[in-house]
């Protein structure tokens, strides 16, 4: 049995849905802008990948009462998950008796609200609005999204930092393979908040200019936000359309350092190698790699070295889309799975913005021009996170 992708949905700095996202790619329009979403020392200065809608607008789009306290992580997740759910025509397929699950990856959960609670709570333990803290845990946004889709057969949340979304996809594929579910909506969601923004700033891996993934002069990442989900189902289901198959996923832990990759890229290499092995493919069969490519000196060196080792002198077409969206943290595995499937479906070459000079150590040159109608059959998508949690997914055309 094969597992097919029958629906996709995404929201990020470059679009509130798949169509807007496609237009941004075609126009090479980055979504990076100085921070405006919340009060912070970095406001107006640091370029970030904000979704171009505040919570009130998101609630309106979702038909949620504007007075309701709901985490931005949940709002973004609902928007993308509903798009994917509708795209697979699931609202019209109730009579098929499918066991449907929902697995979401997130790294911040409801932190965008609990950081407000905590500021008041620090004044006095009796202060702070409780409705701003009850959604702190990662499961809250997942349950709200699942509820909005009417899913109750199986609901779960994965949190492995910046590979959360990719690991949610791997977990979902396993549940279908073992016949625990017939269909599962998988991916990730994360909202920008002061906590993570300052966390990355404190690590000194944030670029004060728009990020330059895989460029020799890169200085760091730009934090972003968004959500991306895909619908996985058995290919024996009566799904109306398909974007491709998920051939394999690999989840490994580099066991090297809590926040850094080994410069040789041992973990990245192991993740990509394992994914190829699980998909029963040779390196030469990959047509495009959607790199993790955050723009930090460490990631792009390590990931590039691993690509060189695995693919040799003639690597496949590759690019990082982080200069469009920023680094969407726990959501990026889901969002970039959507990008990878769009590349397959429409034969798109997604450009790597802000690239000028290759990194001396590996000399990889990513795609810089947008193209359509290319033959892209098999795509690899990488997501690497803190703690050495590194994952690689492989999708292929039907």
């Amino acid at each position: 049995m094969r597992i097919v992708v029958s629906g996709i949905g995404t929201v990020s700095a470059i679009g509130l849905n798949v169509l807007e996202t496609l237009h941004a790619f075609a126009g090479k329009k980055s979504g990076l802008k100085p921070l405006s979403l919340f009060e912070s020392e970095h406001k107006g200065k640091l370029p970030v990948g904000e979704v171009k809608a505040d919570n009130r607008m998101l609630a309106e789009m979702l038909d949620i009462h504007p007075g309701k306290t709901i985490s931005r992580t949940a709002l973004l997740g609902m928007l993308a998950a509903q798009e994917a759910y509708n795209d697979a025509f699931l609202p019209y397929r109730k009579n098929e008796g499918l066991r449907i699950g929902f697995i979401s990856g997130t790294s911040v959960g409801g932190m965008d609200l609990s950081e407000h609670f905590y500021a008041d709570y620090l004044q006095s333990p009796t202060k702070g609005r409780l409705r701003q803290v009850v959604s702190h845990d990662c499961g809250d946004s997942t349950e709200k999204i699942a509820f909005s889709l009417g899913i109750s057969d199986y609901v779960s949340t994965v949190s492995t930092a910046c590979s959360s979304g990719a690991n949610a996809i791997i977990a979902g594929a396993r549940l279908i393979k073992h016949n625990f579910l017939d269909c599962v909506i998988v991916g990730g969601t994360d909202a920008l908040c002061r906590f993570t923004l300052n966390g990355f700033a404190s690590l000194k891996i944030v670029d004060e200019q728009p990020c330059r993934p895989f460029d020799e002069s890169r200085q760091g990442l730009n934090p972003g936000e968004g959500a991306g989900y895909i619908v996985l189902e058995k290919d024996t289901n009566r799904y109306p359309q398909s974007y491709g198959y998920i051939l394999a996923g690999a989840n490994i832990c580099e066991a090297f350092h809590q926040t850094a990759s080994s410069p040789e890229g041992e973990g990245a290499l192991l993740a990509m190698q394992t994914a190829l092995q699980n998909a029963d493919l040779q390196a030469g069969q990959i047509d495009y790699i959607n790199l993790h490519g955050t723009g930090t000196p460490n990631n792009d060196l390590a990931e590039g070295n691993a690509v060189r080792k695995l693919f040799g002198a003639t690597p496949p077409s590759l690019s990082s889309t982080k200069a469009y969206t920023g680094h969407t943290l726990g959501a990026c595995g889901g969002i970039e799975a959507v990008f990878s499937l769009l590349a397959i479906k429409y034969g798109l070459v997604l450009p790597n913005l802000n690239f000028t000079n290759p990194i001396a150590e590996h000399g990889l040159i990513p795609e810089t021009e947008y193209r359509e109608h290319r033959k892209i059959k098999t795509v690899m998508s990488n997501s690497f996170g803190f703690g050495g949690n590194m994952s690689s997914l492989i999708f292929s055309a039907v």
């Binding site: 912070s40 020392e41 970095h42 790294s107 959960g109 950081e115 905590y118 500021a119 709570y121 620090l122 333990p125 009796t126 409780l130 803290v133 009850v134 702190h136 845990d137 990662c138 499961g139 809250d140 997942t142 349950e143 109750s152 057969d153 199986y154 609901v155 779960s156 949340t157 994965v158 949190s159 492995t160 930092a161 977990a171 396993r174 549940l175 393979k177 073992h178 625990f180 002061r194 906590f195 300052n198 966390g199 700033a201 404190s202 690590l203 989840n251 490994i252 832990c253 580099e254 066991a255 090297f256 350092h257 809590q258 926040t259 973990g267 192991l270 803190f386 703690g387 050495g388 949690n389």
Partner: protein, 310 residues
């Protein structure tokens, strides 16, 4: 699931221990130990204790937690607010991610295998177990390490109190439990199956139980012991009462008066079940039932391998 899953190792750090373990015996690097919060030390040590008797490296490390590394999260937030976002110490931020325990276990044991962290409220631990069981069933690993950690902080206690969780007899708690599951090595305790129910009406529970048992070709009378999550919280009593009344002849074991309640407390119930299965006159089958705040309900079925019938 086709493959028989044995629980070949189990460890627990829980409120019953008079004192916490001597962490330096397990986490020997003093610098690493200093950076770790209590949650991380508890989780990592429970995992290392569980692995101490194991011959082979696990082929997967799967961790569960409801609230993650709370004290580091609070520490970074406090630093951020008090220092107005300037000159922040990144260490608590680094250690605040939910996968810190899972990745520290990997780092300390130099294990590059599959590594995942489940963070879904009252079913985080069962999600992790299910993932581990499937990896064994699919031949993706021969043995897997599955466990959970939860820490109680002054803030989380305050919040639970303000939310009214203690008003009707609820108790807060914390602890870490880890298990080694194997498809290759045998042990007295078989992890036979597990099931989930999301927001069922109390009246649906007997039916859900029967369906779970039927799936495993069992009747109610085949269950020799029930481990119930009832911990004396009146607001959560109805569902436990429904299940207990459904097994009128079966001895019931309770534990939350000892551990308190927390998102991943069912891992303590499983640890208890493994201990009971290791005794000479153990029951044939144990059913573990738990729910978290009446929303996420779970069933875990254990079987003694001496009576294995599949």
């Amino acid at each position: 699931m086709k493959e028989t899953v044995y629980i070949t190792g189990a460890s627990s750090i829980n409120p019953l221990s008079l004192q916490e373990p001597d962490y330096k015996l397990y986490i020997t690097d003093p610098a690493a130990r200093r950076r770790m919060s209590r949650a991380v030390k508890m989780g990592v040590t429970a995992a290392l204790q569980c692995l101490s008797g194991a011959g082979e490296m696990p082929g997967a490390i799967i961790t569960a937690t409801g609230l993650g590394c709370l004290s580091d999260t609070e520490k970074f937030l406090r630093n951020l607010i008090e220092n107005k976002e300037e000159l922040l110490n990144p260490t608590p931020f680094i250690q605040s991610t939910f996968n810190t325990v899972g990745s520290q276990i990997a780092m300390l044991t130099k294990n590059r295998a599959y590594n995942n962290t489940y963070v879904h409220r009252g079913i985080s631990f069962e999600n992790a177990l299910l993932d581990g069981m499937m990896m064994l069933a699919g031949g993706e690993a021969e043995n897997v390490l599955v466990g959970s950690y939860e820490e109680l902080t002054a803030t989380s206690f305050d919040i639970q109190s303000r939310l009214g969780f203690f008003r009707k007899g609820g108790k807060s708690g914390e602890g870490a439990q880890f298990f080694l599951l194997s498809a290759k090595e045998k042990s007295p305790c078989i992890l036979r199956d597990l099931a989930f129910a999301f927001r069922p009406a109390p009246d649906e529970l007997p039916e859900k139980t029967a369906a779970f048992l039927l799936k495993n070709k069992l009747l109610k009378t085949d269950i020799d012991m029930l481990i119930s999550g009832d911990g004396g919280n009146e607001e959560e009593f109805t569902c436990y009462d429904k299940i207990e009344k459904n097994f009128p002849e079966t001895p019931v074991v309770k534990y939350k008066h000892l551990t308190g309640d927390y998102q991943t407390v069912s891992s303590f119930a499983l640890w208890l079940g493994v201990q009971i299965m290791g005794k000479a006159d153990s029951p044939k089958r144990i059913l573990i039932y738990n729910h978290f705040r009446n929303i996420n309900h779970t069933f875990i079925l254990l079987e003694n391998s001496l009576h294995h019938t599949i």
